[in-house]
Amino acid sequence: MNKKLQGLVLKNSDEIIRLWLRKVDQNHKKKLGQVAEVSDELFEGTNREFANVIFSMVENKGSTEELKTFSERLIQLGWPLSYLTDGMQVFRNVTVDYLLNQTEIVTKEDCIEVLHMVDDWIDPIIHHLVNEYSGNWENIVSLQKVALQELSAPLIPVVQGITIMPLIGTIDTERAKLIMENLLHGVTKHNAEVVLMDITGVPVVDTMVAHHIIQAAEAVRLIGATCILVGIRPEIAQTIVNLGINLERFPTKSSLKKGFEAALELTGRRIIDMDGSGDKIEELLETLSKE
C-alpha cells in the first residue's frame, strides 16, 4: 500500500505540482509581496525549486542535503518562514485530496493510512525547516546580545583621576549589574578619584533604575572614589522628586560640563584660559569698580 501510494504520487508529480503551484500562487503572492520585493520570475522559480525539493524528499526519505541548501538560500534571501510552512500545508492538502480521489478507498483504515503516510513525508521537512530558521534566529539574537553588551557600559578615562561612564538606553537589572561591575573595576584600574555617570541618554528613570544607580554610587564610594550623577534632564528631575527618590546622598549636576568642572574642583584642579582673557575681564571689573 505504502509503496503503491508513493509510486502513484511520484508518477503523477507533474499533476500534483500543477495543483500545488496554483494554490500557492493564490495564497502567498500577496503576503510575500509585503515582506520583500520579489519578481514574478523569482517567485515562480523558487516555487518550482520548492516543489522539486519536496518530491526528492518524498522519493528518498531522509536525504536532507537538497533541503538544507534550499532553506539556507531562502534564509539568506530573507524569505519568511511562513512561506515554507504554508507551502507545506498546501502540499499536504493537495496530496491527500489527490490520493483520495485517485485510489478507491473502501475502509476507514485505508483513509487513515493515507493520511499517516503523507504526514510521514511532510513532518520531517517542516521539522527541518523550522529548526533551520529558529537556529538562524537564535544565532542572530545571541550575536546582537553580545554587541549590546559591548555597548552597554563603556568607561572612559578622560584625565588623570577622572573617568566618565555615558549611559544610553533603558537600564534593566542585568545591565545595571554589568554597569556596576564595569564601573568598579574601571575605577580601580584607572585609579579614578571621581566618576561621572552620565544619564543624558537614559529615557526613563523609575524607582528601579534609580535604585540601581544609587547602589552603584554607594559601591563606588565604598571603594574610595566619588560618583557624580550628571545629565539630569528637567523631566527626569521631576520624576525623581515625584517618586520620592532621595538622591541627595551624592552630588548631581545637570550637564556633563558642569559635572566635569565639579570633578576638577574635587581633584584640586581647574580650567584656565591660555590667553588670560579671564584675567582681562577681572581687570576690567576691577577698574570699573574703582571708578
Binding site: T188, E193, Q215, E218, R221, L222, I223, G224
Partner: protein, 118 residues
C-alpha cells in the same frame, strides 16, 4: 592570629592580609583601640586590598571600629576595598555610611591629612 598594627608618626597603619574570621576581627578591634590609647594616634588607615571576602559581621565590626576610634579621637579611613567586596556589601544592604573610604593607601593618607587639617 593577630593583625599587626604599625605606627607611622601620628598615624596607625593596618594592612589586613588574612581572611578575617569573627574571632580575629574582635581581637583586632580590641588591639586597635588599645594601640590608639597607647600611642595617642590621630589617624588610622585600614587597608583592605588583599581582603576578598567581607561578611555582614565583619562589616559591622569594621563599622564599629570606625565609630569607636572616632570616639577616642582618631579618624579612620578604609582603603582598597575590592570591587567584588563593594558589590557584596551593597547587596547585603551595608552602606557603611559614615565611614570615609579611599582608593589606596596613598590616597587614604592624603584624605586623612585633609580631614585632620580641617
Amino acid at each position: 592570629m593577630r593583625i599587626p598594627i604599625l605606627k607611622l608618626h601620628n598615624y596607625l597603619l593596618i594592612s589586613i592580609q588574612i581572611e578575617l574570621d569573627d574571632q580575629t576581627a574582635i581581637q583586632f578591634q580590641e588591639d586597635l583601640l588599645h594601640k590608639i590609647h597607647e600611642t595617642g594616634a590621630t589617624g588610622v588607615v585600614i587597608d583592605l586590598t588583599s581582603v576578598d571576602v567581607i561578611d555582614s559581621f565583619i562589616a559591622k565590626v569594621l563599622g564599629d571600629v570606625v565609630s569607636m576610634s572616632n570616639l577616642m579621637g582618631a579618624k579612620v579611613v578604609l582603603t582598597g576595598i575590592q570591587p567584588a567586596v563593594a558589590m557584596t556589601l551593597i547587596d547585603l544592604g551595608i552602606h557603611l555610611k559614615d565611614v570615609p573610604t579611599a582608593l589606596n593607601l596613598e590616597q587614604g593618607l592624603i584624605k586623612l591629612r585633609q580631614t585632620l587639617e580641617e
